[in-house]
Amino acid sequence: MPLVLNDEQTMLRDNARGFLSKNAGIAHLRQLRDSRDETGFSRKLWKDFVEMGWAGILIPQNYGGLGLGHVEAGVVMEELGRTLTPSPFLSTALIAASAITHAGNEKQKSHYLPKIAAGELIATLAIDETSKHRPENIALTATRSGAGYALKGAKTFVVDGHVADLLIVAARTSATPGETKGLTLFLIDSKTKGVNAERTPMVDTHNSARITFDNVTILADAVLGKIDEAWEALEGALNVGRAAIASELLGAGEEAFARTVRYLRERKQFGRLIGEFQALQHRAANLYCELELTRSVVLKALQTLDESFANAGAIVSIAKAKAGATATLAVQEAVQMHGGIGMTDEFDVGLFMKRVRVGQELFGDANFHADRLARLSHY
């Protein structure tokens, strides 16, 4: 498949860009932050997303979705990154919807997917337990109890965790932390007794929560996919999340870069535009190259998820690692090349730095993915 967007995808990008720059954007993020908004995103904006079909972008048409692919999902994520828009698009429309579509049984799919597509359900994957992403180290236990299971443990860095109606929880049903076998996914109503979500406000003002499970008892039909063998489904959902975040990082990095280049053409010192200084020109040119490389590999990762979902692991890791590193460079250069004004809260580039730091960490940072790639390549 050619590494360019087709006409429909280009149209989607243009529409998303137009819509978000008008209805979301940095002012929107600031407003949520400064009013200490309890939801952490705008329900009204989410309703608009639903109307445009975005909440069901990956959901098959027979479950009420648009049935589009990961490339389209990435196109929207990139625009969300460009505008730093908080929304449940990642947690609900992409990761949760994908997990249920791929691993769910018919009953689960027809129960949950139409609700997600209709914007009636916020759902999220609860995976990390330690401050670094180590999915095979899951220690939260689910033990057999009566007709179902009892869950004990805690999750952290759960995206939209304090507002989610449905939690997809990765739990250990056998084997020991460090092993990829013995894991099971559960679909848990967030209002179930013993579930406690505590919002953990983050540096970037996007939603994150710590969730404790205090002997939460659930019925056996809450199992999503195979018992003890959830690794593949979990990896699938994580890969969707990783590729999506890589797209968001690309969007955020490009926007920070575009603002920087604009500033280089505007700001004068020593009687010259600072963009005339070769020291800055070369750093900007190098960053441009890094962004172009990132665009190529992110698009390839999204295409691979569409064409060969089960074999996307390596390319997704490459994309996430590259996007994390490039976006990090982009925001660092943005702040540095803006000088003092770049350090002020009033000026926007700092907000890009904050979001990129979180995106870099989410679902594995560049180091995690470099290590994963090396393992996949046997060295």
Partner: protein, 393 residues
């Protein structure tokens, strides 16, 4: 079956039937690749046969028009041919500056007579070309070149000297930038000339590189007569051709960043350094290699995307500067890591075991990648100015 699928099937079958076994081994030295020319000595029968068969099909220059000795392939067909050649491990049948640089420039700027005269000989590997651009005083600032060509009626009279002229001592002809109007501003008095290296007054003096090889020369022109019909394009308008040719040179050099080595650097490091619990014994080297592999994969995909963008008319004209800059820096990184992984073995300079210092020499040679064809700094200048629109670059 679609046309392209049929083409793939036929191509594969043809390559299997026609590519000699020996030509499916990776080249082990520079001479393993055929460069053609009047004085070329074939390494083996297989090398000769492979060139003849490919030239016969026009596949030494697969995308050139058939009337000039090319294969007339479309972009998609070319991609398939390359993929199938890579899959079988086929060597390139012919490498040359004629193919990479002069050919594309002649196709665009040459007159019919020049195209018919020179292109088929490039395609068949009969004439080997060298590039007379750089001079002692004109490197990055190429347009300040001083070699003069004076109008003498039917001929130009060329005087001056070039430097770093790769393979000047083995080349048959030269494409050469000369100053034809010393009074106009530096970019506008330059012309693009072709002439035979055996013309009276041409001499060369090889220069040895840090790799020990001697692939380039000082080249001197002492009252060389060049017939006027060997002027390409318009008099004093050679700079445009020179720049166009450079974009092709840059694509070619940048392409080195995407190696044809099917084994990953990590895997070969695993052999030399060893694994501990399934991971490379040197964990710092391991992370450097992994981050190299990530960039290398992203670069390969960027080469591919650049081709796809060109096809739909969306490629930025200065994209070759990106490919040149990133590809060559990447190749240097690869060879630094190869040296690290190889340890003291990689330092051996002579002897059978090291294949006469193959790794060390390749490492040293790679340092030229970011200099030849316009330095990395020059590429960054071009990106800053032409793509980012930064002032005063």
């Amino acid at each position: 079956m679609s046309d392209l699928e049929t083409f793939r099937k036929d191509t594969k079958a043809w390559l299997e039937a026609n590519c000699p076994a020996e030509m499916r081994q990776p080249p082990r030295s520079e001479d393993d690749t055929c460069w053609g020319g009047r004085r070329w000595k074939f390494q083996s029968d297989a090398q000769r046969v492979w060139l003849e068969r490919m030239a016969e099909k026009g596949w030494t220059v697969p995308d050139w028009p058939r009337e000039y000795g090319g294969g007339g392939l479309s972009r998609d067909q070319l991609k398939i041919l390359r993929q199938e050649m890579r899959a079988l491990g086929c060597r390139s049948p012919l490498d040359s500056f004629g193919i990479w640089m002069l050919g594309p420039a002649l196709l665009k700027y040459g007159n019919e007579e020049q195209k018919h005269e020179h292109l088929p000989k490039i395609a068949r590997g009969e004439i080997r070309w060298c590039q007379g651009y750089s001079e002692p005083g004109a490197g990055s600032d190429l347009a300040s070149l001083q070699t003069r060509a004076e109008d003498k009626g039917d001929n130009f009279l060329v005087n001056g000297s070039k430097i770093w002229t790769s393979y000047a001592d083995r080349a048959d002809w030269i494409f050469c930038l000369v100053r034809t109007d010393p009074n106009s501003p530096k970019h506008s008095g330059i012309s693009f000339l072709l002439f035979d290296m055996q013309s009276p007054g041409v001499s060369t003096k090889p220069i040895t590189l840090i790799s020990g090889a001697s692939p380039f020369c000082e080249t001197f022109f002492d009252d060389v007569l060049v017939p006027k019909h060997n002027l390409v394009g318009t008099l004093n308008k050679g700079w445009e051709i020179a720049k166009y040719l450079l974009t092709h040179e840059r694509d070619m050099i940048g392409g080195m960043g995407s190696t044809s080595d099917s084994r990953s650097l990590g895997q070969s490091a695993a052999e030399s350094v060893g694994l501990e619990n399934g991971v490379l014994g040197d964990t710092v080297l391991r992370s450097q290699i992994a981050s190299y592999e990530i960039d290398a994969a992203a670069f390969r995909l960027t080469m591919e995307r650049a081709g796809d963008l060109a096809k739909v008319g969306q490629a930025h004209p200065a994209i070759s500067s990106l490919l040149k800059y990133y590809g060559t820096e990447l190749n240097k990184r690869r060879l630094e890591l190869t040296m690290s992984a190889g340890g003291s073995d990689a330092l051996e300079w002579e002897g059978e075991k090291s294949r006469e210092g193959f790794t060390a020499r390749a490492w040293l040679r790679s340092k030229a990648n970011s200099i030849e064809g316009g330095t990395s700094e020059v590429q960054l200048n071009i990106i800053a100015k032409r793509i980012l629109g930064l002032p005063g670059a």
